[in-house]
């Protein structure tokens, strides 16, 4: 015991599974948590699907028909669910003042984040099941109409969702619970400036430069082109992937920096 080991504990999938189990208990014990994966998706599909149906009735040549709006909102839910599951997973620890308990176990930060992301994937599957079923039942629309090109689009949106969650966690570590509102605000900001339902050139000119640097803009654009029956838009998918990877690097850098600051300034006492 007197000899000093500076070894880093190996990554443990058992601890990752335990994080998933911990948040699984929370999900099943908290009916209000089902709003994110059962209620909002249904309301969103009904809202945008009905709007699309109305516009299509009024103007036969409008591109803003039901499939475009439904595809947009369904893909937006990939982004939203992957982001909100991870961000609220971390917030759950702050709400229950459990951060210090967690920090004083062998659980590593990487294991914790992977566990939250895995739990997020499970919630995403549930939420996408809800939106898909709603769209199919009420509007006879399925995302499968987009074809295999959908896979990279979903992959990019998933990665951007996780990256946004990392940014939110970084802000929570730095600014405390007052930053919680950003968990929802960031995704809806992306919704408004990424051209989820519409091409970028229909966004106000001053905002377009912001839209053009967001990987989500290219992902949604690719999805629309695929829905039009066009060839796989490799250029858009390439830009989307590149942007997502850059965002991943930036968000990891930011959250690790905020974690160092969290430990250096003793912010853990905010939650104990």
């Amino acid at each position: 015991m007197t000899s000093v080991a500076s070894d880093r504990a190996p990554f443990s999938w058992l601890r990752v599974r335990t994080v998933v189990r911990r948040h699984g208990y929370v999900l099943f014990r908290s009916p209000h948590r089902w709003f994110d994966i059962a209620f909002w998706p249904v309301f969103d599909v009904l809202l945008w699907g009905s709007l699309g149906a109305f516009v299509a009735q009024e103007n036969d040549v409008s591109r803003a028909a039901t499939p475009y709006l439904l595809a947009g909102i369904m893909l937006f839910h990939v982004l939203f669910q992957s982001q909100i599951a991870v961000a609220t997973g971390f917030m759950e620890e702050t709400w229950t003042r459990n951060i210090l308990n967690v920090m004083t176990t062998p659980l590593r930060e990487s294991e914790y984040v992977v566990g939250l992301a895995a739990m997020g994937l499970l919630k995403l599957v549930a939420a996408m099941g809800t939106v898909s079923l709603t769209a199919l039942v009420f509007y006879s629309f399925g995302l499968a109409e987009i074809g295999w090109g959908l896979v990279p689009v979903v992959g990019v949106l998933l990665l951007v969702g996780w990256c946004t969650a990392m940014l939110v966690i970084g802000l929570l570590l730095r600014y405390g619970q007052s930053a919680e509102i950003l968990a929802w605000a960031t995704t809806f900001t992306i919704l408004s400036v990424s051209g989820v339902f519409n091409p970028v050139d229909s966004i106000p000119g001053v905002i377009q430069p912001i839209a053009k640097v967001l990987p989500t803009t290219y992902a949604f654009s690719a999805a629309r082109q695929l829905l039009d029956g066009g060839p796989v838009p490799w250029a858009d998918l390439g830009w989307a992937t590149l942007g997502a990877l850059v965002l991943a690097a930036l968000s990891m850098f930011y959250v690790l920096r905020m974690l160092r600051l969290f430990r250096a300034r003793g912010y853990v006492t905010r939650y104990s």
Binding site: L14, R17, T96, T104, R108, R263, V268
Partner: protein, 262 residues
């Protein structure tokens, strides 16, 4: 016997305030040590640095053979932490919450559940297994917190105010339980407390902090003698800036020896 803790030259400042100012602290295996001092002395900051939750500005920490911060995860596999003020996740049942922590300590479901069962039985709180954590009283919460902290058979148990705001009978159960863990498992204890009489029962060594520095280190009797007081309460009041005569202590509400539950 080797050291389970070896901290040297710990310094931590928040803004312009030096909360901890050059603290050295070592604990041998199985040793029971109290970290004492008035509010703002730097006890909790020191504990949180020792646990890797706060990064020191200077100094080194070796915890059960692992150098922090790099070895934090490995070290925490040998350390348990309990704080009287810290609840367990409120939407989980006690058995679920404990099972989750067993998983964080690297125990599989079967081994973890067995450890949970043993821990609850040891502290005679098996009846709490299916209660929601949010429904526990502060005393029950502390007992469950101790079970959480010993699930993995740690070499060192760190306790921050474990009996704060507990009734004397529950405080007694906590204290006897901790003494049992120390005696039978060989677990070292590092405790902070404001109850000096309790510390005299629980710990064989006390380390007093004042203004972030170690000002006394020895057995309770040695430290009391060094400050010219009959017991630790007098030392505490002395360091807190309220120097009183021994015969005035009782008037201030300090427990006499006979009033302490054993």
């Amino acid at each position: 016997m080797g050291n389970v803790l070896d901290a040297q030259g710990l310094v931590k400042a928040f803004a312009k305030v030096r909360a901890v100012d050059g603290v050295d602290l070592t604990l041998s295996a199985g040793e029971r040590v109290a970290l004492l001092g008035p509010n703002g002395a730097g006890k909790t900051t020191t504990l949180l640095m020792l646990l890797g939750a706060i990064t020191p500005d200077a100094g080194s920490i070796t915890l059960v053979g692992h150098r922090l911060p790099r070895g934090r995860s490995a070290a925490m596999g040998e350390v348990g932490f309990v704080a009287g003020y810290l609840p367990l996740p409120d939407r989980l049942r006690v058995s679920e919450a404990l099972s989750i922590f067993a998983g964080f300590y690297g125990m599989g479901r079967k081994a973890g559940d067995a450890a949970v069962e043993r821990g609850l039985a040891r502290f005679e709180i098996t009846h709490l297994a299916d209660r929601m954590c949010m429904e526990l009283s502060s005393g029950q919460r502390t007992l469950v917190g101790i079970v959480k902290a010993i699930l993995h058979g740690p070499q060192l148990l760190v306790l921050d105010e474990p009996t704060a705001s507990l009734d004397p009978d529950v405080a007694y159960r906590v204290r006897t339980g901790l003494l049992d863990v120390a005696a039978n498992d060989g677990t070292a204890l590092l405790v902070t407390s404001h109850n000096m009489a309790e510390v005299e029962r629980l710990c064989e060594r006390v380390v007093f902090l004042a203004a972030g520095r170690v000002v006394a280190d020895g057995s309770p009797g040695e430290v009391a003698d060094a400050f010219g007081h009959g017991d630790l309460e007098g030392v505490f009041l002395h360091l807190a800036g309220t120097v009183v005569a021994e015969d005035q202590l009782e008037d201030l509400g300090g427990l006499t020896d006979d009033e302490v539950p054993r």
